[in-house]
Amino acid sequence: MVNILLAEILKLKRSKILLLIPLGGLIPVLLMLLVYMDSQASSIIKTYVFGWEYFLDVTLYYANITCPAFFAILAGYIFTREYQLLTINSLFTYSFSRMKIFTAKMIIIIILMTVTFLLTIFFTMIFGLLLTKNRLLPDTLLDFVKINIEMVFINILLIFLAVLVSILVKNIIAPIVLGIIYIFGYAVLNRSFSVYVPSCLSSLFATYFTSQLGKNHPVMTHFELLPDIGTAFHTLIIVSSVSFIACIIYYRYSDVG
């Protein structure tokens, strides 16, 4: 298994898709900055009024809109390139099962997703230090890290849908389209049926987790009501388990070429 993982890492060497990782980490922070700059308050007041909670929550909010799209494209690239480059013909003729290859690819995707969230935290810290005079309390930072870890898990469960689409269509266009749908899924975020829409789940859970902190978190102002997290959870479990099982069956048993 170690060798398969090393091979998967080597395949990504000099790969431009890796740019998605720093981009995925940076874009939510840049969107947060836009919101910050758009605020009416003067820059001096802003540095005192806007606390760390503001930066962390807004970044988290945007991260959960943009990151699922980035992850869908990343996972799509890792799976579909084997079909598009015809390397699948040799990849499936080694003396180990297709499931080991699937597992290795998923491990790589999960590592890259985690790195993206870590970069989001890192960039938020950098910009936060530049923009606010308030002190960052250890509890606030810990809460933020904890929520990000929870969001990695939510996104891991969601990624199977992107993987399924990728291996079914065998073309990078499909996960790109899915990524775009994820971003536009944001449009229905405030609707009651959003708990049934996979593209909204990441944002809904981010909102829910933030609300559980019991502090004044500005991200909550976007929502009139808290999401029905129980239904959202059921949707998440159904979408991820159905996608996962379909992925396993299709990847393991389907004909190549």
């Binding site: 060798n3 398969i4 090393l6 091979a7 080597l10 395949k11 060497k13 000099r14 790969s15 431009k16 390139r81 480059l85 015809l86 390397t87 699948i88 013909n89 040799s90 990849l91 499936f92 003729t93 080694y94 003396s95 180990f96 099962s97 048993y253 004909d255 190549v256 070429g257």
Partner: protein
């Protein structure tokens, strides 16, 4: 007789259309088996079934004397293959691509990479990324990958696809060298008949999914003995003279004005003289040998492609 690869009544259908129909291949140890057929005859599908990339609808595959069961992978360690066009990661160099293969094969020694690169003559191109390689270079790299762990069975699906005549000759020579040097069994699929004729010890001809002939090269040569081809103005008159004056009965008029004489003629000058004496005008009289191409066309009843 020891067989490295055998298939028993292999069947594959796509959308109710039979692509491979009860295929029975018998590949002997150490031989070069030429698997020929037109484009779309079922060659690649057969190879993909042998390699486990697609599942047969019916039939069994026997590799190294063992019937392959679903999700059995051990035998792949002893097989090297190129299916369709050899696929590589374009962002990586040749060595990095082979390193991936080495890792996946679990070969501990990295030296094998350089020696295989050398065998296929790519040692001066190792720093180039594969995206800058020509099709011929990629095909050679594909063979290097297939050879990395000295397989006992090498399966090559159209290895000279897209190569110029020099490249084709190089690959042919490489295949011959490998077969002689390491007693490797080579299963070579192609639609280029001359390629197979020059190097194969057994020939399998597939047409519309059916293996219509499996013949060893000696038998093929016996079947395709020499003949004399005459191009005459009046083939009826010429046929009359052949039968009545020269007692030749084993001949055929292959097309208007073209006669092939299969009887053994010791003195062709006597034949020519007799024809002239009997007033037969002929444009050409040459001794020829049936090519694999003729044989193939006779069997499949059509033109070859490619």
């Amino acid at each position: 007789m020891e067989y490295v690869l055998r298939t028993h009544d292999l069947v594959k259908k796509y959308d109710n259309k039979i692509v491979v129909d009860h295929l029975n291949l018998n590949v002997k140890k150490g031989e070069i088996y030429g698997f020929i057929g037109k484009n779309g005859a079922g060659k690649s599908t057969s190879i993909k079934m042998i390699l486990g990339l697609i599942k047969p609808l019916e039939g069994t595959i026997e590799i190294f004397g063992e019937t392959i069961k679903p999700r059995q992978y051990k035998h792949y360690e002893r097989i090297g293959s190129i299916v369709d066009v050899a696929g590589f990661y374009p962002n990586l160099t040749a060595i990095e691509n082979l390193e991936i293969h080495r890792l996946l094969m679990g070969i501990p020694d990295k030296k094998c990479i350089n020696s295989c690169i050398e065998v296929v003559g790519l040692n001066k191109e190792t720093s180039k990324k594969v995206k800058d390689y020509s099709l011929g270079m990629k095909q050679r790299l594909g063979i290097a990958r297939a050879l990395l762990y000295q397989p006992e069975l090498l399966i090559l699906d159209e290895p000279t696809n897209g190569l110029d005549p020099v490249g084709m000759k190089e690959i042919r020579e490489l295949i011959l060298r490998l077969s002689k040097r390491s007693q490797m069994t080579i299963f070579l699929s192609t639609h280029i008949l001359s390629e197979v004729q020059q190097i194969s010890s057994t020939i399998g001809i597939i047409h519309k999914g059916v293996l219509i002939e499996e013949i060893c090269f000696e038998d093929f040569q016996k079947k395709n003995s020499q003949f004399i081809q005459l191009k005459v103005v009046n083939d009826r008159m010429a046929a009359y003279v052949l039968e009545k004056e020269l007692n030749i009965i084993d001949y055929s008029v292959v097309e208007p004005g073209v006669i092939r004489i299969y009887d053994v003629i010791e003195d062709t000058s006597y034949l020519n003289r007799k024809l002239i004496e009997n007033g037969i005008d002929f444009k050409e009289s040459v001794t020829m040998k049936n090519s694999l191409e003729d044989y193939f066309v006779n069997l499949t009843g059509g033109e070859i492609n490619g």
